[in-house]
Symmetry: C3
Subunit: 223 residues, 3 copies
Amino acid sequence: MPTLERHDEVFVLDLGDTENRFHPDWLAEVDGLLDEVERAEGPRALVTAATGKFFSNGLDLDWLSTHGDRASEYVVSVHELFARVLSLPMITVAALQGHTFAAGAMLSLAHDFRVMRADRGFWCLPEADINIPFTPGMSALIQARLSPQTAHESMTTARRYGGQDALAAGIVDRAAGEEAVRETALEIARSLAAKAGPTLGTIKSRMYVPALNALRDKDNPFG
Amino acid sequence: MPTLERHDEVFVLDLGDTENRFHPDWLAEVDGLLDEVERAEGPRALVTAATGKFFSNGLDLDWLSTHGDRASEYVVSVHELFARVLSLPMITVAALQGHTFAAGAMLSLAHDFRVMRADRGFWCLPEADINIPFTPGMSALIQARLSPQTAHESMTTARRYGGQDALAAGIVDRAAGEEAVRETALEIARSLAAKAGPTLGTIKSRMYVPALNALRDKDNPFG
Amino acid sequence: MPTLERHDEVFVLDLGDTENRFHPDWLAEVDGLLDEVERAEGPRALVTAATGKFFSNGLDLDWLSTHGDRASEYVVSVHELFARVLSLPMITVAALQGHTFAAGAMLSLAHDFRVMRADRGFWCLPEADINIPFTPGMSALIQARLSPQTAHESMTTARRYGGQDALAAGIVDRAAGEEAVRETALEIARSLAAKAGPTLGTIKSRMYVPALNALRDKDNPFG
């Protein structure tokens, strides 16, 4: 289960030490921890990290396969998480120490910056392989954060990007050794904690109006 | 005239061995060959190539100069070709062995990937020089596929990009020797033939909603 | 105060030798000089330059602090300047010999190309630091001209980019020694003067429809 720690001005949200798939309970937990981060005042920043082999593998397809009647409501809640992180009024950094797949990769893109382990682990959007098209909201999020060339390749080919590949493609902002991933993310977060505040929230919200509108379309999450 | 061959899972559409301008008969021919590609089932991919000095020089301005009354209908049919290739439910690769100009360059951008001859031939959008502004649909297509910096330079200056320049600008994905252009495109296509299917079609259609809408606006193709 | 000189086919607009903030009188002066540039005929291009330590520091916050009641009208006039330069029917090059901050940086992005001094001076969007969120029009302009990664970093972190940093991030097209900044801009402008004309104006206007619409929204400049 996700946990939250505070190191001076930086909150560290640890997504867990499993595949960290988005089970509804996990989503509720993360949402509650983000409430705590938002309620805090003054300079602060968020690092989202995880422990073990996975940052996150995204949607909980096992749960979904037995709760098909709740698919729409479930996707709405995932979209809400993306929209919330994308517009958080503080700097956010994802520390990708392990595999970052599908909705896990999209969650990483909702952060301001990404640090990825250089020597192991993949960032990948496997949707074209697993026959789950991106929702319009997901598509808008990914395309808003990546260059046209990278968005196209990653979304149509399910390419698995190692850390150096992801850096070259502009998917992540830094690649680092295993031990340095979280520390590098913390450094970036600390150095930008003073930016927190409603102005930054407004800046991000205005930058991503189309993506946020698509992600917040609760009536029609599948387009 | 265009021809179609199949090499295992890869269809090769050869645009011809002339300037390969978009005469209405040529457009109808290409459309029919794409029908054949779409009707096929299972893993498959498309390589669009040509023979000789030109990939394509784009609109058939000679024909257009004597059929001004059909300009609107003609541009609609060119837009339809772009929209069709842009949303084809399989991986598409353009093998640019020769000059790729104007609407020929736009057709190349409607493909998923581009391989360009490294040592000879230019990719160029000469519209600013020949006093033919991009239609809104063309503009949307080009801007959806290129970085803002490259789209701006290529659209406002009519710069002729050699293979290495085009690679550096992110216009093409690979530059290769003359002999290797088509083979490189075939390799990319073969390696991604398994992605073919309606999911990939949906992914592309959702990624390019604004460009596809502009290209499919039959009432007002000139904006 | 701004001045205008003509060197053969190239107009040089010098923004001044102070901080070159956008006082209403300065805006009116620049607008009048741009009228002169637009009225000219035949091949021509525009270089926007300045003298001294600053290209421009942007909005005149001193004036604004004593004219709060005219804030809306003032921002509309700044938006109009951006929209006008962004759609000018000739090639425009900004020669950034000194600090280029906030709305000064946005003005530079409204030009087709930017040449920046390599060894000194910063290009910076400090809005996140000074608690002035970008208006929707400003946000649209910046995001239309920069890659998603660069737009995000520059808009959320107030990073100060030196010339080489700005070149690497694709903010400017060239970095040059102090003495060479203006000459490099003049060379680019001269080489592209023949592109001037209504076709180029239409091309730019169609490329930037969303940004131009946001910048020309006089009823609601603050979103």
